[in-house]
Amino acid sequence: MRDFLSKTRTRLRRAVAADAESGDVGTDAATATDREPDPDDGTVVTDGGTAAGGDGIVDRLNDRFGEDFTESAPFWLPPFLLVGLFVYGAIAWNFVISLTDYQGFIGPDYSDLDFEMYVRAINDSAVIDATVNTFLLVVAFTAVALGFGLVLAILIDRNIRFENTFRTIYLLPMSLSFVVTAQFWLWMYNYNNGVVNIVLGTVGIGPISWIGNSSLVLWAVVFALVWQFSGYTMVVYLAGLRAIPTEHYEAARVDGASTLKMYWRVIIPQLKGSTISAAIVLMVFALKAFDFLYSLVSGYRPPNGADILATKMVREAYSTNNWAYASAIAIILFLMALSIIGPYLYYEYKQGNL
């Protein structure tokens, strides 16, 4: 650091001297003196400094990382630091908190760290249930939304009239908040007056207590989420379908394949990329289902049978103030997410998309 400062000073002196010599005591020297001592602002140093000599820290950084490194740093570094602090710093801090015994209103004690909270979580049947529910919710929701979205995309792609109108309608629920859709579905699932029970009643089924029945409620939630997000899958698949070259359809037709067979054998296999990226995003949405479950009951405790890790974690933290325990549950949830995202990012990296 001291080395850098002394070099900067020498360079400044040289720059000022040069300017004085050429009789130009104008703006250039002024900006150089104003800005150069600030080691954070790499760009400006390059602007004024490279001419003065190729020995600055900027040049060394550029030599090491590539020629635009310092000049582009003001663009990517602040956002990166903000994300680094709020995402990765927070996760690391969360992990440390999960090792303490922090609860109640007195701050965490960082001197006594152990894995007690994780042991407690593994032995807590509520956490086990929530993990199973999270898993069921994510898998069922993702699978159904993918399948349903693919059907929608194929329907829309059959050269229909008012294609844009239908696409807009199918995607509409996605623009709504979980809080809003939870209100709609609470009403849809209403025992006496809900649309679902009235429609089922016409074929002699029900009425069924969708929210009150602990073995049904999770599937009712999955259904509502599929309603909200299959429009998203449709859009992704539609883009995928339109990227498939015409020849593939023609080849299949020449071979005499039926429409169904053509889709199954030729088209769907080519949608692998779309499927993977849509599935990842859907899983993330599913992990965010907290908002939906909270709004269903206007509180931290979701209907019996629909508790997932996300709701359990928030309840432990903000309802009962078991902060360390909540942090441990959050880490479990994070690891679940990581086990999906890690391979995905690696796959994208290998594909050259990163």
């Binding site: 000049e71 663009f75 990517w76 809003v180 209100q183 309603w227 965010k288 928030v314 949830l333």
Partner: protein
Amino acid sequence: MSDEPLDEPDTTDATDSTGGVADRLRDDLAGLDGYRVALYAAILGMTVFFLTPIESGLVTAFKTNPGGISSTLPFAPPPPRFFTLEKWQTAIAALGRGMVNSALYAVPATIISALLGSFAAYGLTQADWRARYKAPVLALLVAGIFIPYQAVLVPLSQFWGAMPLQELLTPLWVLGVPEAYTGLVELTITHVAYGIPICMVLFRSYYRNVSEEMIEAARLDGATFRRVYRRIVFPISTPMFAVVLIYQFTQIWNDLLFALILVSTESSPAAPVVLILAGLGESMEGQDFALRMAGAFVAALPTLIVYIMFGEEFAEGVAT
């Protein structure tokens, strides 16, 4: 609206369309009237499926409670004797301040996160530095999209609890702004931080396809990296800014979790609209569904307007 052309595949329409599967299959299908009927039946069936919850909510919001709600079908419009606007009035009265609060943080957070996302994407695509070092920066930013927010909640509470934000904003309180509005400043910064990754990815996919020659020519002419952004990249980003702003605005407006953690009670003067809505109807004599539905529509109004006006951009933001 679209049931007239059911059984005659319209040839002009088909040739006009910009490529779809059916283009290539039209010959196969020209004779299959039954097939077209089934196709449109399926499409209309799906339309009913997607619109029913919304339609049912809309008509219910105009019904009296409990009379209108229990004696009419949930998807039927209210007959005159059960018709009322009272629920809308109540909902607007209850949610009005929430709408203002939501706008107060959603708008700045949207703009700032879009700008920072654009900066980051520019610095990570058009800048020439070693991929070996760029890749981890990029990977960490991209992974930020997929983080379950539960994993950062407790530290987030701790962080904002320890920040002397309330003291820093003293001038505001002197001016008579309720101190609870600290929560909105926290929400803005939080949403910016967690919004950057997705904005960066959206912009990045766009900047990667920007013509390199133009930028290279400018660089060779001696334009600095910053100048290229201001003069070339920023102006041509306008369509992508539309996409990102629309997407981010709906995301931030719709989010409940951060609002719940940072503002916490719906009775707070700074409560965002989603927070008030989540508790609406419950607090008033049992479950008043007419009020809930009216509230849901009031809260969804800004995103609905944005969606109806900019559906294309929204779809693009979603698909990337």
